[in-house]
């Protein structure tokens, strides 16, 4: 039944899936519970333009896409903290401009031989070895970031003013969080897809906060549930020949609905 596990590309997809799921779940509470859930979605749109530019300008798209999306994330952070416009408006502005530019470049470029659909939905089974290494690297960076700054990030998430009062460098940590989110999005877009990558960030906290009262457990349950769901998604998607990203999102939704249906029962 599990013969397909002997294939190298499947093993690689599982490693990438686990690394991305863990990275997203670690970022999730600090973004979702701080009303920044849409930043992942916005940056996914930005990464569309970044990857297209990368493909056109260099042999390795990620070398252009990663700095491009990181810069865009810093711009979003700067615009939303400069009080010129709201955070969600800043995300909408930067992402729609980037997406529009990406589409114009695709239309006007001669010999652009990558299908838009493959970029929108991604494909974990065609990922390269360098993408696997980047996925593991991003997990390492995000893991260290959360481990080292967990208390500070928690304070920033629940009470920004109190964090400032406590002399936490909220600006630097906010920019670091944005940059790491951008790094994760670019790596994840190629495998999970532009349209679905934000689900990996949004669902873990949305699901775990239904179950637990504590912030720390929200993080832990989010990480564990994401790990299981992503692996399950790969195992279901491959034999059925359906996109992995879509399968993962459908499983997340089923789990969310199940928890919400069963919640009143275990409370009584």
């Amino acid at each position: 039944m599990f013969d397909f596990l002997s294939y190298g590309f499947i093993q690689q997809a599982i490693v990438i899936g686990i690394a991305l799921a863990l990275s997203a779940a670690l970022l999730s509470p600090f973004l979702v519970l701080n009303q920044q859930a849409m930043i992942a979605d916005g940056l996914a749109h930005v990464s569309f333009a970044g990857i297209i530019l990368g493909i056109l300008l260099s042999g390795e798209a990620l070398w252009i896409a990663i700095p491009f999306v990181m810069l865009a994330s810093l711009l979003i952070k700067y615009l939303s903290t400069s009080k010129t416009i709201n955070g969600d408006a800043a995300i909408g502005l930067v992402s729609s401009i980037s997406f529009a530019i990406g589409l114009i470049i695709v239309k006007k470029s001669q010999g652009f031989n990558i299908s838009i659909e493959s970029m929108l939905v991604g494909n974990m089974f065609t990922a390269t070895r360098s993408e696997m290494i980047l996925s593991l690297l991003i997990l390492l960076f995000i893991g260290l970031f959360v481990l080292l700054f967990y208390r500070k990030l928690f304070m920033m998430t629940y009470d920004l003013n109190y964090a400032k009062f406590s002399k936490i460098n909220v600006s630097l940590l906010g920019y670091l969080l944005s940059a790491l989110t951008a790094f994760f999005i670019v790596v994840g877009v190629r495998t999970i897809g532009t349209l679905l990558i934000s689900a990996l960030v949004v669902f873990p906290s949305v699901i775990s906060s239904q179950i637990t009262k504590s912030f720390k457990n929200t993080l832990i349950i989010g990480v564990c549930s994401s790990l299981m769901i992503v692996v399950m998604g790969i195992f279901i998607a491959h034999p059925l020949e359906i996109p992995v990203g879509s399968t993962i999102v459908v499983i997340y939704t089923i789990v969310f609905l199940l928890i919400n249906t069963l919640k009143p029962l275990w409370r009584t």
Binding site: M155, Y158, N161, K164, F215
Partner: protein, 240 residues
Amino acid sequence: MQTYSKETLSLSNKHSTLMIDYQNVNVTFGKFQALNDVNFHLNKESVLHIVGPNGSGKTTLVKTLVGLLKPSNGTITINAEHMGYLPQKLNSKTNMPMTVREVIYSGFKKQRIKPTKEECELIQKWLERMEISHLYTESMTHLSGGQQQRVYLIRALISKPDLLILDEPTSALDPSFREKFYLLLDEIHDKEKMTIVHVTHDLTDAVKDNCYVMYVDQTIKFFGTYHDFHEFEHRGHHHV
């Protein structure tokens, strides 16, 4: 000691008897002047009550005191080793999963991934003092406004600050606990030798004769003892 000014932030003598020193402090937001030429100083272990009408700049003054707002001009010197702060607007994120214990623990100066046994006991002791010990592992979202305010007050007190700043701390408390709250504050002040700055709308609950009172309306209209404040009040300058 911390000195906030438009350009500087420095440390200096911790043996001084002076806790707070404001010199020619102005705060402007665009063309609006929120605070105009504020000058005062407060010695260590004093209690200062700040009163004034709505929109008079009381919260702006507190924000400059805790370092959330830099003055447009002037110098602020704070001679505190550690400050405790209870803001007026409490966290209002209704869907935030966090327990009472997690919120109080964030008030400690040094925080580990997991609180020590001693730290948990200290939190429990404070919860008992505030009569909410049964809420130790409860979610903040399940608490009433008054219970939340008590939790945030413990967060401000847990690391034994030498300067405690309270911005309308009793606004969400029910009247029966309000009285207990001020008795508790008196006890803390006497025991811990804390300097307390307290912004309030309702002066009658809070004041003892040896306290200072400041009346703010964009600038300091009165600063002195409670006894003198009575005279100021009777001269018809305002009603609190």
